[in-house]
């Protein structure tokens, strides 16, 4: 299942009669790529990745030698998932500012995991949180970008409070102020 070394099928821009067909094919490939590469070991179906991170990784992994796709092609391709019957991943905007591709319930799942982690280890910084969250997966299932947004959301909701020191920002579960 090593996608990088064995490209199963080359999606060559020039072989497509029109852009739409090309995008459909790209959409399928992106979908497959995300499903394979971003699943966590324990929870296959919990996937969440920012489009920015995905754009860099997908191109560097799958498009080398094929011609990279453009940011807008990536966006458009992801927008076609539903029509193509690829329903398990959807575009979702986090905190009104960062566009992600995510499976259903993944946000709540990561949210809960982080809170649980902070309950056990109060005062982690974002790097520790990201590392701990990915401890059980072979790669990195959740990037710092995703963890940042989930944390931001928790802070906005009041579930997490911050300790801002010169040494950096650390996070605590809020079980004091409701």
């Amino acid at each position: 299942d090593n996608l990088q070394n064995k490209p199963s099928f080359l999606i060559d821009r020039e072989k497509f009669y029109n852009k739409s067909m090309f995008l459909n094919e790209i959409a399928r490939e992106i979908f497959q790529f995300v499903i394979t590469e971003f699943k966590s070991e324990k929870n296959d179906d919990i996937i969440m990745v920012t489009l920015v991170d995905l754009y860099a990784l997908y191109n560097k992994t799958m498009r080398i030698g094929m011609g990279y796709i453009s940011p807008s092609e990536m966006r458009e391709a992801c927008g076609r998932f539903e029509v193509l019957g690829l329903t398990s991943l959807k575009l979702k905007k986090l905190n009104g500012r960062v566009l992600c591709l995510s499976s259903e319930n993944s946000f709540d799942y990561i949210n809960n995991q982080i809170i649980k982690l902070l309950e056990d280890e109060p005062g982690c910084d974002i790097l520790q949180i990201t590392q701990t969250m990915n401890k059980h997966s072979t790669g990195t299932s959740w990037t710092i970008g995703i963890i940042t947004e989930v944390l931001e959301n928790c802070i906005n909701k009041g579930e997490i409070v911050i300790d801002e020191q010169l040494s950096g920002l650390t996070y605590y579960k809020n079980d004091i102020w409701i």
Binding site: N156, I162, D163, I176, W177, I178
Partner: protein, 198 residues
């Protein structure tokens, strides 16, 4: 200082010292600080605090009757155990709320260019009731009692306004005056010195 050890666990919660971004949470955080200040001042039996979190103990010289202020070295706002302290700008926000809620009254005097606040672990109205109660219990109605006697006299020992700075006592009694229950006597400089409760 052992008085810090008496404080609730939240005092050792590091995020308490960072101004929280969520406004609802911050509101509660500020309330927590107000409670801590009140509780700390009360447990130390103290009436004044600098804006920097240092309590001020008023010492009365028994011979001359003159008073002097001793400032606690340690600030409530600096937690050495967990090495945290509240940033100045946030401290100011806390005092603003505290004054608005009537839990602190800014005095007219600064110490080392820091403002000084009376810490109202009871509100002015509640204090005036307690004082009134003392006048009734001690059978002091319709006679002039000096503020010095109220604050330092043997007869108020055991009452929790014992030791209250005279200007603060005057403020509390002012509320009795407003209810036509008291008259304040002033010295030749206009400074309140005695009170008659009717």
């Amino acid at each position: 200082m052992s008085a810090f050890d008496e404080l609730p666990k939240v005092y050792y919660f590091p995020p308490l010292y960072t101004r929280q971004v969520n406004s609802l949470i911050r509101r509660q955080q500020i309330d927590t600080w107000i409670d801590l200040i009140l509780q700390y001042a009360k447990s130390m039996n103290c009436w004044m605090m600098t804006s920097e979190g240092n309590l001020i103990q008023t010492k009365i010289d028994e011979l001359t009757g003159s008073d002097s202020n001793a400032i606690e070295k340690k600030s409530l706002f600096v937690n050495e155990t967990i090495q945290r302290s509240i940033p100045h700008t946030f401290v100011e926000e806390i005092w603003t709320h505290m004054v608005e809620n009537g839990k602190a009254i800014r005095t007219e005097h600064d110490i080392e260019s820091n403002s000084v606040y009376y810490i109202m672990w009871k509100g002015v109205d509640l204090w005036s009731s307690v004082i009134l109660q003392w006048f009734e219990t001690a059978v002091k109605l319709n006679q002039v009692v000096t503020l010095y006697e109220l604050s330092q006299g043997d007869e108020t020992i055991g009452w929790d306004f014992h030791g209250m700075p005279e200007p603060l006592l005057a403020k509390c009694i002012k509320s009795l005056c407003d209810r036509q229950r008291a008259t304040i006597m002033k010295d030749e400089y206009g400074k309140p010195v005695g009170v008659k409760v009717i």
